[in-house]
């Protein structure tokens, strides 16, 4: 029995020492001279050649302006495409480079993407890469790269961004990354796809107290550490203050009208959308003359009409004025979100 007692004492002491050592080492970086974590928000300037010219021009210009020096477009096999030198602040070189890329892709169908590199062959980066969208949806892409200098892997690291209303009661996910593991000593890039539906975005601003046009965002970061034994989740809410004064809001069951004599800084400055959803017409304008959102013409119950279309499984929106209109099909989630937001706007407005 004495031997058993000695063994148990040894096991107990080892278990306690092991646990303390395991946890303590987890919070001491391998190299104490460096930060335990290094976080960067940027994506390499690689673009699909099938993207529209306008999108490529925006990205070429943004990448070169951010870098502050000239760059050329290279294929994914490392071939420099002739005539694609882009200079910062030089719109003509941007247009010419995009034209050259498009022409090269036609004669070389195997080329599906291009990358901007400087004279030294270094790949340029951008904070946010614009992707092809439609009249009401803006798609962007970025990467959050995290260097893990801690001793253990970071597990299930996930990042999400929500748009909220000013009372925090409505949450609409605009960006999300798939949960990823970041091994110790390695840098891992979390791809973040951002999709902003202008209509839903504008509606969210009206579902709160309605006395501000500031944009409220929620940043959600979660992950596990110490082989999953511990974890943390952080939710930060931020406000992008709008200097625009409270708008005039007029809400009835058949018409929603929001007007302001000042534009909303956080929305595109040339926003002009006319859309038709069933029998409901929506116009959103944000320009130098101000901001306005009008939904419905005062004759048809908006919620009933949108609900009927949703129940039929029809998630289409006709954007533009015929004959120059385009039919956009929202996802069921986007349509449901829009319907839900309209219902909340009606509740807020007492309609």
């Amino acid at each position: 029995m004495k031997a058993f007692s000695v063994i148990m004492h040894a096991v107990y002491a080892l278990a306690i020492a092991g646990l303390i050592l395991f946890v303590a080492l987890g919070f001491i970086p391998q190299d104490t001279g460096e930060m335990p974590l290094d976080v960067k928000l940027e994506a390499e300037s690689t673009y699909e050649v099938s993207e529209p010219n306008g999108v490529l021009e925006y990205n070429f210009s943004d990448a070169v302006d951010t870098y502050g020096g000239p760059a050329d477009a290279y294929t994914d096999t490392g071939v420099k495409i002739p005539g694609t030198t882009v200079n910062p602040g030089d719109d003509a070189s941007v247009t010419a480079a995009v034209t050259a890329v498009k022409a090269y892709a036609v004669s070389n169908p195997e080329v599906t993407s291009v990358t901007l590199k400087d004279n030294g062959g270094n790949v340029l980066t951008q904070t946010m890469i614009m992707k092809e969208g439609d009249e009401i949806t803006t798609n962007m892409y970025t990467e959050i790269s995290i260097t893990n200098r801690l001793r253990y892997d970071l597990i299930d690291i996930a990042i999400g961004v929500d748009q909220l209303n000013d009372t925090g009661t409505v949450s609409y996910r605009v960006a999300e990354s798939a949960p990823s593991t970041i091994k110790t000593g390695e840098t891992f890039s979390l791809p973040v796809d951002i999709s902003i539906n202008s209509l839903n975005s504008a509606l969210i601003m009206l579902t709160g107290s309605g006395d501000t046009l500031s944009i409220y965002m929620g940043f959600d970061v979660s992950g596990k550490y110490l082989y999953g034994l511990a974890g943390a989740s952080i939710y930060a809410t931020a406000v992008f203050e709008s200097t625009t004064a409270a708008p005039d809001v007029d809400i009835s069951a058949t018409r929603i009208s929001v007007t302001s004599t000042e534009p909303i800084d956080q929305l595109p400055s040339d926003l002009d959308i006319t859309a038709t959803i069933g029998a409901i017409t929506v116009t959103i304008v944000n320009d130098s003359t101000g901001f306005s959102l009008v939904m419905g013409d005062g004759t048809v119950n908006i919620v009933d009409e949108l609900q009927a279309q949703y129940d039929e499984g029809d998630y289409t929106i006709e954007v533009g004025v015929p004959p120059d209109s385009e039919v956009i099909t929202l996802t069921q989630e986007q349509y449901a979100q829009m319907l839900d937001l309209v219902k909340q706007v009606m509740e807020t407005g007492g309609a």
Partner: protein, 177 residues
């Protein structure tokens, strides 16, 4: 071979000095030190002039420390009882096991669900620019670590029985003298 005793008989034999000393030490570590820590933190936050921003964190810490102290009172009593009896005494094993079982419950009473939520009012940060960080809510989850601690406590129970068995004969011999 000394005569075997029952638990009831063993409960009559203990050391008041050891029991009181253990009780006082537990009282100091469970009540006095946390109270001093709270007083120190309160003073430090006030001197930093960060009262509003740190209020939520301080409140959470305050609540956690109070849970530690209030639910820790039975631990003080159990510390007295486990130290009152010497090795080889059946009552010592009994109260050690009760103390360890209560410690497991105590751990989960302090950190319900193995989580510690902390909120920070950051509305004063970045003021003056077009961007402001309203609030940050951090939830720490250490359920896995707590379960490891539970495993260590279970191991401690087995250890207390091993200590009892290896000291039983010596205890009985001393009792019969």
């Amino acid at each position: 071979m000394p005569e075997e005793t029952t638990l009831k008989q063993d409960m009559r034999h203990g050391s008041w000095v050891r029991g009181i000393l253990a009780g006082v030490l537990s009282f100091v570590s469970i009540v006095v030190v946390p109270l001093a820590l709270m007083w120190f933190l309160e003073g430090m936050i006030a001197s930093m002039g960060a009262g509003d921003e740190m209020a939520e964190i301080f409140n959470t810490l305050n609540e956690t420390i109070w849970r530690f102290m209030i639910y820790g009172i039975p631990v003080i009593v159990l510390a007295f009882l486990t130290s009152f009896y010497v090795k080889g005494n059946k009552a010592k094993v009994l109260f050690t096991v009760i103390a360890l079982l209560y410690s497991i419950a105590w751990l989960f009473l302090i950190f319900p669900g193995g989580e510690l939520p902390v909120s920070l009012d950051t509305s004063g940060f970045f003021s003056g620019s077009g961007f402001s960080l309203d609030s940050v809510t951090l939830t720490l989850n250490f359920l896995g670590i707590m379960l490891l601690l539970v495993a260590i406590m279970l191991l401690r129970m087995v250890l207390s029985y091993a200590v009892y068995k290896s000291n039983r004969e010596k205890y009985l011999k001393k009792l019969s003298e």
